[in-house]
């Protein structure tokens, strides 16, 4: 089967890959671009572990084909910190012990960042509904919610 050539931008860098038409964006990011921070938890868009942004919009990369990334701007967890400067969300997740096993953490951070870009001052309820597409089995979400709210408060103060 012939492969499709894709040129796209991942975390600001131009990348090219060849992919099978059936490969998902998740497969391509992990296996063709090497972005192993993007995780597969379900492959059916139910768990959010593979969350990335495509042209600024939050998507489950397991629900999009790799071929559809042509010409898009993809953002993954690997692009979240600014060099050695962690994003406030990343810092607060560590400080609040908002991760236990950590497998859902990249997806939740990407999803939370997408929310704060749209709504820098979410209520707890808004945040809980926004993150309802990101499953965490370890924490019961308590410390995740606290970490995001705390990061949001700091970011509002800094801006």
């Amino acid at each position: 089967m012939s492969k499709i050539h894709v040129t796209t931008t991942v975390n600001g860098d131009e990348v090219e890959y060849l992919c099978d038409p059936r490969e998902t964006l998740l497969d391509c990011l992990r296996d063709r671009v090497g972005m192993m921070g993007v995780k597969e938890g379900c492959g059916t868009g139910d768990c959010g572990a593979c969350s990335v942004t495509v042209d600024g919009r939050l998507v489950c990369s397991c629900l999009m084909l790799g071929a559809e990334a042509e010409g898009k701007e993809i953002g993954t967890i690997e692009g979240m910190a600014d060099g050695d400067q962690l994003h406030p969300l990343q810092q607060k997740f560590i400080e609040h012990a908002a991760l236990q096993c950590g497998i859902c953490t990249p997806g939740i951070l990407v999803a939370a960042e997408a929310l704060l870009k749209k709504n820098p001052d979410p209520t707890e309820t808004e945040l809980r509904y926004w993150l309802a597409g990101n499953l965490c089995r370890c924490t019961g979400y308590d410390k995740i919610i606290r970490a995001v709210m705390d990061a949001a408060a700091d970011m509002r103060e800094a801006s």
Binding site: D20, R22, E23, D27, R30, D31, M36, G37, V38, K39, E40, G41, C42, G43, T44, D46, C47, A49, T76, I77, E78, M80, A81, L86, Q90, Q91, F93, I94, E95, H96, A97, L99, Q100, C101, G102, I103, C104, T105, P106, L109, T125, L127, R128, Y129, L131, A132, G133, N134, L135, C136, R137, C138, T139, G140, Y141, D142, K143, I144, I145, R146
Partner: protein, 749 residues
């Protein structure tokens, strides 16, 4: 090694530093099971039975093997023969032999150059099945005439006359049941059912395996216990344990479900068949739900007697546990822990381990305990309500304390049940006002915890920094607690300790991170190893000062003369001693190899407020409080995290999660959309209170905390729903249709 009474004040224990692996895990750098690739690797895929019960007549892989890029196909014929007992069960579960025993049972596997090709090839493997009658319900499986899963699977414990699907029988009791019930003013008798729930770890099982024709291999995999993986894989393949090195990846959740193997022996067999080429094998979510995990399901009868003033006089229980197509449902734990919260003179329990055409049950957080707690704590709650006694008071009156004889036999050691009840009573949540359709539920729960085979090492670097090496994978922040305990023992900064999780070639055997044992047992091993290092460093200082080693003490990271009589020497820091170690006798390290037995059990009490929508039957959790005894919370944030996570898993099991089998014996909900675990919008904050009743069997008083937290939620929520609706529900989950039907039935009654 007993509680270190000489050090009541801690400098570091109880603080909340950042976890050492935090940076890797918030940047996406941490490498989990599916994140490692090897040059030239192949990709595996497994063909699974679509039938609940079927004889495998033939397997024809010729079409698959004819595809360009397909390198190997394995079936059961490629595994070792002659296994018995648990090894046979494990091997049979990883790859079916004569029969497929459940929907999703592996029957063949293929390795090919790409993941898509492997999946395509698996579909081309032709299997001829002879479909057999099946059974998936525990009560049905025990009935006369039920399909026999495997004749001869029962062990010596099963009395004559029971169905061959009953494979283990367990009985335990004391006192005079009849006299106990005669003494009671109130007797309540009820039957309960719980469905199987899956551990639901977000990371599917994944591994990268290489096994040469010389019998030497390496395996990278996500597991709670890589020595267990090594033992199981080598048994399944017929090679010696030392020939396989297993390296644990970071692990994306386990909750007990990653203490065994499903795909690892298959990947190794594929690699061997493909001439030693590495094979990567990653499960899909539906494979995880169909063929790994879940808990046992249970069918239970409980009878309890109580005097008017709330004293429990007698209790009896029958527990029928369904553990899939293999023996191993946690029938002993379920029965033993059923009434373990209480001081009861007259008690009797019976348990049945029952096979059905379902996946082999695996451990899930306090395996077996939540089901029994649901049944027993529901009955206690009903009795308290009928007698007009506060549910916490009834537990305070009957709750076990040190020195009591437990319901299952041993004497109760120092435990903190009463302390959790008192703390729950004093918490503002217990006094919060409730509105219409709202109810409050209370329940307590217990897990006895575990020690187990433990091996660790602590080595001093040339600059005085400390490398801690343990064999228990870090599943929820244990690197932080190990580093805290090591730093506390040495009297050095937390940041000067680095904790490593070793592969199977680098330490003696270790049991997994299971049984709530890592912080207790690996922690104790680290403390002991650190003390050995300190003792060696004191000797180096004594030799340098030319004084007796007994005249040297260790304080805050320095060797010091123990008093004025010992001599007047400048204290030597760990860095100074380490810097000279090559000239003063060589490397300095400490080791620990044992199985610490003085683990202390942990009690917890939960208080939950719910609102039940009378129109839809939907239950909303309004408030949730976890109070639990941690002995000593080494890193309180991760202790709270265990409390909160356990509670929310329990909320899922109580309200939503269940295995749904169709009449065809196939799992109806093998994706997260339909197997619905709690999401953020389902929940409030989970309030926690850490009670600290130190465990006398650990130098710093640690008790395991991981598992107790899932034990009280099932009954606490059922009790709250009963309070909100006036209807006592006896079958989980309390899904909206079930609750709505119950409310409607009560109205018409």
């Amino acid at each position: 090694m007993a509680l270190d009474g000489s050090k009541p004040q801690f400098k570091l224990l109880g603080t909340r530093p950042n976890r050492p692996d935090g940076l890797d895990k918030v940047t996406g750098r941490a490498r989990y099971g599916a994140d490692l690739n090897a040059p030239g690797q192949l990709h595996g895929a497994i063909l699974r039975s679509p039938h609940a019960h079927a004889r495998i007549v033939s397997i024809d892989a010729s079409k698959a093997l004819a595809l360009k890029g397909v390198k190997a196909v394995v079936t059961r014929a490629d595994f070792a023969t002659g296994l018995t007992g648990d090894d046979w069960n494990m091997q049979e579960n990883c790859m079916a032999g004569e029969k497929a025993l459940y929907d999703g049972h592996a029957v063949a596997a293929v390795a090919a150059t790409t993941p898509l090709l492997a999946k395509d090839a698996a579909k081309l493997i032709e299997v001829e099945y002879e479909i057999l009658p099946h059974v998936t319900d525990v009560d049905e499986a025990m009935k006369e005439g039920a399909p026999v899963i495997r004749d001869g699977a029962a062990d010596y414990s099963v009395p004559d006359g029971l169905h061959p699907n009953v494979v283990r029988y367990y009985e335990n009791g004391k006192g005079d049941l009849e006299a106990g019930f005669a003494e009671a003013d109130l007797i309540v008798e009820r039957s309960f059912k719980t469905e199987a729930a899956h551990q639901g770890y977000i990371e599917p099982h994944a591994c990268l395996a290489q096994l040469g024709t010389d019998g030497q291999g390496e395996l990278w995999c996500c597991t709670q216990g890589h020595w267990f993986v090594r033992q199981m894989c080598t048994a399944a393949l017929g090679i010696e344990t030392s020939q396989l090195k297993v390296t644990p990846s970071e692990i994306g959740g386990g909750f007990g479900g990653k203490t065994t193997v499903f795909i690892d022996p298959v990947a190794l067999a594929l690699s061997r068949k493909a001439g030693g080429t590495p094979v990567k094998l990653v499960m899909s979510r539906s494979e995880v739900l169909r063929a790994t995990g879940p808990t046992a399901s249970a069918s239970m009868d409980i009878k309890m007697g109580m005097t008017k003033d709330g004293r429990i006089t007698a209790a009896s229980g029958v527990f029928r546990m369904q553990g899939g197509a293999f023996p191993g449902a946690p029938v002993d734990v379920t029965t033993d822990l059923a009434f373990a919260n209480y001081r009861i003179e007259n008690v009797h329990h019976v348990g049945y381990d029952v096979m059905t055409n379902r996946p082999k049950q695996a451990a899930y957080r306090a395996p077996g305990a939540p089901m029994a707690a649901f049944a027993c704590e529901s009955v206690v709650d009903e009795m308290a309500t009928k007698l007009g006694i506060d549910p916490l008071d009834i537990r305070l009156k009957n709750g076990v304390v040190e020195g009591d004889r437990s319901t299952y036999g041993p004497k109760v050691k120092k435990v903190g049940l009463i302390e959790t009840l008192e703390a729950a009573k004093a918490h503002p949540n217990y006094a919060a006002p409730l509105g219409p359709n709202q109810g409050r539920g209370v329940a307590s729960g217990y897990w006895m915890n575990w020690g187990g085979d433990t091996s660790a090492s602590v080595a001093i670097g040339e600059d005085g920094a400390v490398a801690v090496t343990v064999g228990t994978p870090d599943i929820g922040g244990s690197r932080a607690s190990m580093a805290l305990m090591a730093a506390e023992t040495f009297g050095i900064p937390y940041e000067n300790v680095r904790v490593h999780i070793a592969d199977t070639a680098s330490l003696g055997i270790n049991e997994p991170t299971h049984g709530s044992r890592a912080t207790f047992a690996s922690g104790l091993a680290v403390i002991q190893s650190a003390k050995e290092c300190i003792q060696k460093m004191c000797v180096r200082a004594a030799e340098k000062w030319d004084i007796d080693p007994d005249a040297v003490t260790w304080e805050d990271g320095f060797a010091k003369p123990s008093g004025p009589n010992a001599g007047d020497f400048e204290p030597l820091s760990i860095a100074e001693i380490a810097g000279e170690m090559s000239d003063t006798g060589g490397p300095i390290a400490g080791h620990f190899e044992a199985n610490p037995g003085k683990f202390g059990g942990s009690f917890g009490t939960h208080v939950v407020d719910v609102e039940v929508d009378p129109e839809t039957g939907r239950t909303t959790i309004l408030r949730y409080l976890v109070v639990q005894d941690a002995g000593k919370a080494i890193h309180p944030s991760y202790v709270e995290g265990q409390f909160q996570g356990g509670a929310v898993q329990g909320i899922g099991w109580a309200l939503n999660e269940e295995y749904v089998y169709g009449p065809d014996g196939r799992l109806q909900n093998p994706i997260f959309l339909d197997y619905r675990v709690p999401v953020a919008s389902d929940l409030p904050m989970i309030d926690t209170v850490i009670v600290e009743v130190p465990n006398p069997g650990h130098p710093y008083g640690v008790r395991g905390v991981g598992e107790t937290g899932i034990t009280p939620p099932l009954p606490a929520i059922a009790n709250a729903v009963a309070a909100a609706t006036g209807v006592r529900f006896t079958e989980l989950p309390l899904s909206p249709p079930k609750v709505l039907a119950g409310i409607k039935a009560a109205k018409h009654a």
